[in-house]
């Protein structure tokens, strides 16, 4: 394409700017809605306890050599014995998260609320953009780009002859959707709830299973070789004192 496409200024006034403004406003609205719907979930004592057991067992593993072997053996037994050790998870009792979700309606409710506040506005805006502005070339970025960016910037226009630096309206929507996080953190403060990427991470981390890490910790403890370091310390202390005396 030799000659440039001329974009109507009306497109700027009626497509580009309204789209951005609407996206920002929806983001803000979503923040407040999710703030309203958020329930403070009381942590489960069992989960907290398991977390603490893991920390303590990890400490034991890391610093095992600092306590006498008698003390270490007693603790190891306390953690790993097969009957009622702290780290021992009886077979079949490890709750899998799906079952847990089914048994606890609150959890499913929470998930649904989170999803609703995220998905509904997104589908609505997407439908709105698609309906009103499909096929618009909404903006032009002031530098040339390679062909690879076509799918990113010209979503919704199937013309291979248009220069890649033109941005279609639907692509503008996506750019806004993912690119406004910095702006939101300015408007709404650092820890705003509209952080989509973080939320997705949460979703994927949902399947976290504490019983697995308990088992891993138990295996780790089982193979720890106890080697008391204190006798070495005695020698080193002698060296330290000698140095002090000679200085």
């Amino acid at each position: 394409m030799a000659e440039d496409l001329v974009l109507d200024t009306a497109i700027r006034d009626w497509v580009l700017i309204p789209l951005s403004v609407v996206m920002v406003l929806i983001g803000v609205l979503r923040y407040f809605v999710s703030k309203l719907m958020r329930t403070t979930q009381l942590p489960d004592s069992k989960i907290i306890k398991e977390g603490q057991v893991i920390i303590r067992a990890r400490n034991l593993r890391a610093a095992a050599n600092f306590i006498p072997s008698k003390a270490f053996r007693a603790r190891k037994l306390y953690y790993t014995n097969e009957e009622n050790g702290l780290l021992h998870v009886p077979k079949g009792q490890g709750q899998n998260p799906q079952a847990q979700m089914l048994s606890d309606p609150n959890m499913a409710m929470d998930m649904m609320k989170k999803n609703l506040s995220m998905i509904i506005p997104q589908t609505l805006t997407f439908a709105w953009v698609n309906f009103f502005f499909s096929g618009f070339v909404a903006a032009k970025i002031p530098f040339p780009l390679t062909q690879r960016f076509r799918s990113m910037l010209q979503n919704g226009i199937d013309l291979s002859t248009v220069d890649v630096s033109y941005v279609s309206s639907r692509s503008w929507y996506f750019l806004n959707l993912f690119g406004l996080r910095g702006l939101f953190s300015l408007i709404l403060g650092e820890e705003n709830a509209t952080d989509d990427t973080q939320r997705m991470m949460q979703m994927s981390g949902f399947g976290f299973d504490p019983s697995k890490s308990l088992g891993a910790e138990k295996d780790g403890l089982d193979i720890v070789q106890h080697d008391w370091v204190l006798p070495k310390f005695e020698q080193r202390a002698g060296d330290v004192l000698r140095k002090r005396l000679s200085s």
Partner: protein, 298 residues
């Protein structure tokens, strides 16, 4: 844990605030963030902030945090009237809040009406059994009432869930030592060494407990822990130096010289002690010499 930079920052802010240089709010925020106990200063500067309507409203929603902070500090300083006023303001703003309920219970505790405070705490715990602050307050209250066994009970209940809380372990260890339950105390100190293996104070306390329990094996272990304290402190801990000497002489007494235990370190420790005494208090050197002589180290 307070890092070095934060500590210096705090010190700087404290000096600035003490000399009337402003920055009171920053100082108070830092104290709150680091969870330090500077009740007198928090009370003084926080109250000054709260009594100045212009400054107070400039804080925005943080105003209520400040009220809470000042109320807690006032309770610590036994300024019950101030605390009562703060809590009243908070009550008006947040009726039915559990956080305010906690403050009210603490007010009752500060007044010394133990039974009412106990009741308030238990009802708060019924709502949220995992509230660490309330569980800790209950331990503190039992201790303040002189109900040491009750304190141990509560602490054990607390540690059953929050078993990685090393401060609680230290508290429990100190209580056990005060009750002369050394075996239990030793366990707690082991736990502390596990969670913070590089802090010499735990090694020292553990060695003390082992030495007090006595017996050849324990004495030998205690000696090793005194040695590790010396290593970790660079030989500057007088108590550990004495500990080594005492352990050596006690072991020699028990084995009646049959055991050819390595005596080198205790002679070194004795020499280090002598050097320290000559440096910092020359008039007590003779006392040290006679003490060491009774331990047959000189």
């Amino acid at each position: 844990m307070v890092s070095k930079t934060e500590e210096s920052q705090l010190q700087q802010l404290e000096n600035q605030v003490e000399n009337g240089g402003g920055g009171a709010w920053e100082y108070l925020s830092l104290v709150r963030k680091l969870k330090l106990r500077r009740s007198d200063k928090v009370l003084k500067h926080g109250l000054a902030l709260l009594n100045d309507p212009k400054k107070r409203s400039a804080l925005g929603p943080d105003e209520w945090n400040l009220y809470e902070q000042v109320a807690t500090a006032a309770l610590d300083c036994q300024c019950l009237e101030v605390a009562k006023d703060c809590i009243k303001v908070l009550q008006k703003k947040f009726p039915g809040s559990k956080r305010v309920g906690r403050l009210e219970a603490m007010l009752l505790e500060a007044k010394g009406s133990w039974d009412e405070a106990e009741k308030a705490y238990s009802s708060l715990l019924e709502d949220n059994a995992l509230d660490q602050v309330i569980s800790m307050r209950r331990v503190a209250m039992a201790k303040a009432r002189g109900d040491i066994l009750g304190a141990i009970d509560w602490l054990n209940k607390y540690l059953e869930i929050f078993m990685a809380d090393h401060d609680a372990w230290r508290e429990l260890a100190e209580i056990y030592v005060s009750l002369q339950m050394y075996k239990q105390a030793a366990f707690c100190y082991e736990e502390l060494i596990l969670s913070q293996p590089m802090i010499p104070l735990h090694h020292l306390a553990y060695a003390d407990v082992l030495y007090t329990i006595g017996g050849l094996e324990n004495l030998q272990t205690a000696k090793k822990y005194y040695a590790s304290t010396i290593e970790l402190t660079g030989g500057k801990n007088t108590r550990a130096l004495y500990g080594i000497c005492l352990c050596t002489s006690a072991i020699a007494q028990l084995t009646k010289g049959k055991n050819n235990e390595d005596k080198e370190i205790s002679t070194l420790a004795a020499a280090a002690l002598e050097k320290d005494y000559k440096q910092s208090s020359p008039d007590k050197v003779s006392l040290l010499a006679s003490t060491l002589k009774t331990m047959k180290l000189q």
